[in-house]
Symmetry: C2
Subunit: 121 residues, 2 copies
């Protein structure tokens, strides 16, 4: 059995497209996903789970209904389950997401931005 050391910068180097979620690790029933984001996402929530955003490089913001969170490299946040949020980034931001296997990026909102084909890199 071989256990892989995961270099996050190297993994991001393999991701050519924006907004394409890639799996890099699994811990029990949780996935670690990378995404390069440069867009305004949609309002959505995950009624069944908390969700972690960790900023590997760049800056992003996460609008909540009553405040806006500003995140930069080396920072993370836990969005509690059921809380509506709208991530956005005006420049490319490299994000590590941690959430249960099967969590959908658009949560219960659905729509065109839903990404259901997530590959391992």
């Amino acid at each position: 059995m071989s256990i892989a050391v995961i270099n996050l910068a190297e993994k991001f180097g393999k991701i050519k497209e924006l907004h394409s979620y890639k799996l890099v690790a699994r811990m029990n029933d949780y996935h670690f996903k990378l995404v390069k984001m440069k867009r305004e996402f949609i309002w959505h929530s995950h009624p069944e789970t908390d969700e972690v955003f960790m900023i590997i490089d760049g800056n992003m913001q996460i609008a909540l209904r009553e405040e806006t969170l500003y995140l930069k490299r080396g920072e993370m946040v836990v969005i509690p389950k059921g809380i509506e949020h709208k991530p956005s980034s005006s420049e490319e931001c490299k994000i590590l997401l941690i959430e249960p296997v099967g969590t959908i990026n658009t949560g219960s909102a659905g729509g065109d931005l839903t990404d259901t084909e997530i590959e391992w890199i």
Copy 2:
């Protein structure tokens, strides 16, 4: 309700002692713990859970029975449940651990290095 942005470097700045685990976040039933390590830890395993090591600064190694993993800043690894491992670092290494609430640092091995009083910072 206020949601905290967690700056990992700032949190590490508040940790004065080596080998004192501190909680910085909870996602569902998982804890995010910081520790500054400079020692050779003991062989142990967690029969009930995988465990994530993410290196925020410095270098460390994790001996397994058949290989040794070398990790540096920006790298992470998932140690599968039940796999014996022995973390060590000759210089101070800043580590983010992700594991289920209640996971004990020494796993099923126990002993003097067991840390059961983990505070939030």
